[in-house]
């Protein structure tokens, strides 16, 4: 297997994002690295659905996406494709959202004009009168079972109307059901059940004068009711349409190709024309064009071509330009590619354009948000909310500040400093406000800002206050928990499950330090020795920090012992005497780089690393160890053959 390592990655620490352009010639970049076969179908995640619907229909679809049944979150990087399928409840969520959005476009003339600019109409009217019972009737109508009220109304245009009746109930009727019928010109049109004090009845009315009659059919246990207010609202008459068949075809092609992120096939054009025409039959409001628009919008939002990102390109071939841009945009930014980008697709210098687009994308807020979520999951940041301490310096608000510190640090390191994986574990700064800075013995303002830390004490993530506080156990720092997280999260070490019943450690007695207590129960000669010889040493390295991550020099009156030994893949057995020394060793280890690269790979590809990905991971790990910035690694992954090509079956 041949690898093409470019100059930018061959040793010097590349800190300039502009240098990423040097590897724009991606056709030769990844050589013949193996490409894992990937699925062609990728169901949109809820965030992606929200952005796709919002973009397509020029509105904020958040309220709809928020009603969708939530996906189980089972893994720190659980954006894996196989968990994203359309189960019955989700299908129903999609359906209701589609119906309501399509109806919304139909009922709001300005929105309609924005979505169907070819059919922006003039002279539309809407009919929404409200009648107080005093206006309609000489006396307040009181109805017993079998009695009715009636009145005449001038209907300006034929359409479905919703009548709402505000009913006054006597005590005897409360909690009972009451059936109403609505008659139009003496003919029973529909009936409805009274719900609380609001009665809603839908009916289709013709243009002109109509006699409306409400019959109180059910006597609800001999009670009576009063009618206090009646209102009616009809679908708006949008006015005369401007759309002929050619116009319909133009709108359909533009709307559906935007929704599906690709050009329509010939047979699809006829399919969607049929769907449009079906709308007039299914909805039958009398406005065939508006019915067709509503029906098409509803159908498109339920179509698999909208709900999935689909790759049609042949196996082993590059993705089509549209597919590649769509994949890039959804995977990194959770949104469809914008129209401007898709318009550039026919340019001959697509390779360069892709590189520019990618470079631009890596600096956009959506990429920052997206990466932030992944790092939140990586760090199990939500668990910071459960931190509890009896220390006077702790209060529940501090937990939120711990989370903010981590997020601000990652943003600063990745996007502002163009930092590396090595920097993650060795940075001599953090982002802090006054409360967080105080934990480090430093000062800061009310807002989060970059502060320098004592390089003899602090080094990157390992010595960050939230991490140290989260992995403490009651009144003591927990070298076991800290060591487990370092192994599991930072080094991707596979640890066996703990035994079923593990008793908590007893309280420290006498002159023993907490480390000595832990060692006496899990160290050499104990039944937990085999696992804890891996777990404990990295935790011992952080003994210099108390339960809130503050520097300490003594434990139970004895000097802190943060020394230890550990075996890394490349370095073999290593020793250290301080936290910072251990952090440096970890930052140089192949495991730490490989682990982070693997997580980044999962983020980009939406799946776990598989055996066939070994070469890609190896190449990127090498680059990372030679100082490639994290953004550079992300860039490389997005330029890789594995991302841009379809794998062989």
């Amino acid at each position: 297997m041949m690898f093409y390592l470019l100059g930018a990655c061959s040793g010097e620490n590349t800190k300039n994002i502009e240098d990423l352009a040097e590897i724009a010639d991606f056709e030769d970049f990844w050589g013949d690295t193996e490409i894992v076969h990937s699925p062609r179908l990728h169901r949109l995640q809820h965030e992606q659905w929200k952005n796709a619907a919002s973009s397509l229909l020029s509105f904020d679809a958040t309220s709809y996406a928020n009603t969708f049944v939530q996906q189980p979150l089972l893994d720190p990087f659980s954006q894996y494709r196989e968990e994203y399928w359309v189960h019955p409840l989700l299908f129903h969520n999609y359906q209701i959202a589609a119906e309501q959005i399509a109806r919304g476009v139909r009922l709001e003339s300005e929105w309609y004009a924005e979505i169907v600019p070819q059919d922006a109409r003039e002279g539309g009217v809407s009919f929404s009168p409200v009648w107080d019972s005093d206006e309609l009737f000489e006396e307040e109508p009181i109805l017993l079972g079998g009695e009715s009220i009636s009145f005449s109304v001038d209907i300006p245009y034929g359409a479905p109307y919703l009548f709402s009746v505000l009913v006054g109930l006597e005590d005897i009727c409360l909690g009972q059901s009451a059936l109403f019928q609505l008659k139009v010109d003496g003919e029973v049109k529909t009936e409805s059940i009274l719900n609380d004090t609001d009665l809603s009845i839908r009916v289709e009315l013709e243009e002109g004068q109509s006699d409306i009659e409400f019959l109180f059919v059910h006597d609800c246990a001999q009670g009576f009711i009063s009618i206090e207010e009646i209102s009616a609202s009809g679908w708006p008459d949008l006015g005369e349409t401007r759309l002929d068949e050619e116009g319909i075809r133009i709108w359909l092609e533009a709307f559906t190709s935007s929704a599906f992120r690709r050009d329509l096939l010939d047979n699809e054009q006829e399919f969607w024309m049929d769907v449009f025409e079906q709308g007039a039959i299914e909805i039958a409001s009398g406005d065939d064009i508006a019915d067709g628009v509503e029906w098409v919008i509803s159908a498109v939002l339920q179509s698999p071509h909208f709900l999935y990102r689909i790759e049609y390109s042949p196996d082993g071939e590059p993705l089509s330009k549209a597919e590649l841009l769509t994949k890039l945009s959804f995977q990194i930014c959770n949104k469809p590619p914008d129209a401007q980008m898709m318009e550039q697709i026919e340019r001959e210098d697509f390779s360069r354009m892709y590189s520019e687009f990618l470079r631009d994308l890596l600096q956009q807020p959506c990429t920052k948000e997206s990466l932030e979520k992944r790092h939140d999951q990586w760090m199990f940041l939500s668990t910071y909310a459960n931190i509890f301490s009896e220390e006077d310096s702790w209060n529940p608000e501090l937990n939120t500040l711990f989370q903010q510190e981590f997020r601000a640090f990652m943003q600063q390191l990745i996007f502002e400093e163009k930092g590396t994986v090595h920097d993650l574990y060795t940075a001599d700064y953090t982002m802090a406000n006054a409360e967080i800075a105080a934990l480090y013995g430093e000062e800061a303002g009310d807002e989060f800002e970059k502060i320098q830390l004592n390089p003899e004490q602090r080094a990157g993530l390992l010595t960050m206050s939230g991490f140290l506080a989260r992995d403490s156990d009651g009144g003591y720092p927990s070298p076991i928990h800290r060591g487990m997280v370092i192994n599991w999260v930072f080094l991707c070490t596979e640890l066996p499950n703990p035994p079923d019943s593990v008793s908590p450690l007893p309280d420290v007695e006498g002159e023993m330090t907490h480390r000595e207590l832990v060692e006496s129960y899990t160290g050499e000669g104990t039944c937990g020795e085999s696992c804890h010889s891996i777990i404990n040493p990295p935790g011992y390295a952080l003994e210099s920090f108390d339960v809130l991550g503050r520097w300490r020099t003594e434990d139970n009156g004895k000097p802190i012992d943060a020394s230890g030994t550990f075996t890394f893949m490349d370095q073999g057995m290593v020793s250290w005497t301080s936290s910072v020394e251990f952090a440096q060793l970890l930052a140089q280890s192949r495991e730490a780089h490989q682990c982070y690269v693997g997580n980044l790979f999962s983020f980009v590809h939406g799946r776990e690393v598989e055996e066939e990905d070994e070469e890609t991971i190896f190449v990127l790990t090498e680059r990372s160890m030679r100082g490639r910035p994290i953004l550079g690694l992300l860039h490389d992954l997005l330029m890789s053959n594995g991302f841009r090509y379809r794998g062989e079956q």
């Binding site: 076969h37 699925p39 062609r40 179908l41 169901r43 049944v69 939530q70 996906q71 189980p72 089972l74 196989e82 968990e83 399928w85 359309v86 189960h87 019955p88 409840l89 989700l90 299908f91 129903h92 359906q95 209701i96 909690g175 009972q176 059901s177 059936l179 409805s192 059940i193 009274l194 719900n195 009665l199 809603s200 839908r202 769907v275 079906q278 299914e282 909805i283 509803s298 159908a299 339920q302 179509s303 698999p304 071509h305 689909i310 049609y312 042949p314 499950n497 079956q649």
Partner: protein
């Protein structure tokens, strides 16, 4: 590949609970759990009163053997004998110092200790109930159980059965019409079959597109399975929308809000059951409960044209909710008839499941807060299981467990739905930690 094996959830290895696309009675329907609860005990041996509830012989039961014991309540379930597991000899673990009805109802599905409050005679379970436990293991089905109730709304001593967690009692849904509308996404009061018709047309459009993709040879088998799942989801949910007949829907709509009436108690129970059969068929949820009557069911049941006094009084055999009062003549016979009415209603549920072909695709439980009414006994609390849960249970048996705590049957019921512990074994430690763990092996196939 079957749907249930296509995806796995977590380390528990749960099977996903969906129908196969080809019909209601597929072998691949994962098990559901339903519990129907009666209050006030049953007419079994209690002091001087003879047993009029259980079959006369333990062991194998058949339609003939159950029917032959025609003087016993459970003879009402003879048509389903081979699907039954009649469990006697189960008891609640924790006594009550205040209100035996509430404390027993609270323990019924939780096997948890009971928190009791003076002077309101109120009590709450200090643990989660099995319906909640099962439902939350299936988040793709909403993660919530369906909690149904038919009874009065007086503001006290109402729901007792379903718990989200310690002292977190879940309110029941009174009205099957509202429940149905909520499932379909309608606004209350809209009975618009045109919407259903439109959806049916729209679903055809969706299915056509999915089908076309499924026939595209470029897609791998894994891609096609994803599409097949989507295809089946559309069809499954469409069934929920169309299978409730217009008559059934109208009946629910017209009785909206009338579940509080005593005369409608069993009508509402049956309407809930109409909905339940549909719900389990399409995988809307994996666990449901139906509580008939309030905490100490005071319904005045009308049977054979005779309106009985409050069922609670009947169970005490006196005109009183307390210990002293004038005797009710024929109270034991009344209680027996009420027991039969409940058994018949449970039988109605089983017949609805049979119509959908899913009786043995899950397990339905007919249980009671108490063993018997007069003594308010926590011994011999009936647990009548129906359905093999896809072959998990060995049905057609009547077993007397001779006084063991009922947490083990709760463990067994949970395990029947496919939920497993981290080691892949049965759930055996549900309920209060002080109770001996285990499942009832003799119930298993």
């Amino acid at each position: 590949m079957k749907r249930r094996t296509f995806l796995k959830i977590g380390t528990g290895g749960l099977a996903l609970p969906f129908l196969e696309g080809d019909g209601w009675a597929s072998d691949d329907i994962p098990p559901f759990l339903f519990v129907c609860r009666q209050a006030n005990g049953v007419t079994q041996a209690d002091g001087a009163e003879p047993d009029r509830f259980w079959p006369k012989q333990t062991g194998t039961i058949t339609q003939q053997s159950l029917a032959a014991d025609s003087d016993r309540v459970l003879s009402e379930l003879a048509p389903w004998a081979e699907h039954l597991l009649i469990c006697k000899g189960l008891r609640y673990a924790f006594p009550s110092n205040i209100n035996a009805h509430l404390a027993s109802g609270n323990q019924c599905l939780t096997a948890a200790k009971v928190w009791e409050e003076y002077p309101d005679a109120n009590s709450l379970a200090m643990g989660e109930s099995i319906d909640n436990y099962v439902a939350r293991h299936f988040p793709e089905h909403g993660g919530e159980p369906l909690t149904l109730y038919t009874g009065p709304r007086n503001g006290q001593l109402e729901e007792v059965l379903s718990y989200r967690g310690s002292k977190e009692l879940r309110a029941g849904e009174d009205d099957p019409w509202h429940t149905y509308q909520r499932m379909l996404g309608f606004q209350p009061s809209a009975l618009d079959h045109r919407v259903l018709e439109r959806r049916s047309s729209m679903n055809d459009l969706v299915l056509d597109q999915i089908h076309a993709l499924m026939n595209d040879t470029r897609f791998s088998s894994a891609d096609r399975q994803l599409l097949e799942l989507h295809f089946d989801s559309v069809r499954d949910f469409e069934r929920l929308a169309v299978q409730l007949s217009e008559d059934e829907a109208q009946q629910m709509a017209l009785h909206q809000g009338q579940g509080i009436l005593d005369d409608n108690r069993m009508l509402f129970a049956r309407m809930h059951m109409d909905l339940l059969a549909l719900v389990f068929s399409c995988g809307y949820t994996r666990a449901a409960t139906l509580q008939i009557g309030d905490g100490d069911d005071a319904t005045e049941y009308t049977i054979d044209g005779e309106r009985f006094p409050s069922f609670h009084w009947v169970s005490h055999r006196i005109y009183s909710d307390g210990e002293e009062g004038e005797s009710i003549q024929g109270a034991v016979e009344m209680h027996h008839k009420i027991d039969r009415l409940f058994a018949q209603t449970f039988g109605y549920h089983l017949s609805r499941l049979q119509e959908y072909g899913i009786l043995d695709r899950g397990v339905s439980v007919f249980c009671n807060d108490l063993g018997s009414g007069v003594s308010h006994s926590y011994y011999n609390v009936p647990f009548i299981l129906a359905g093999s849960a896809n072959g998990f249970f060995k049905t057609g048996q009547f077993i007397d467990f001779e006084g063991i705590y009922h947490n083990k049957i709760l463990n067994t019921l949970i395990s029947s739905t496919g939920v497993r512990n981290e080691e892949g074994g049965f759930i055996d430690n549900f309920g209060d930690p002080s109770l001996e763990p285990g499942v009832l092996e003799t119930l298993l196939a």
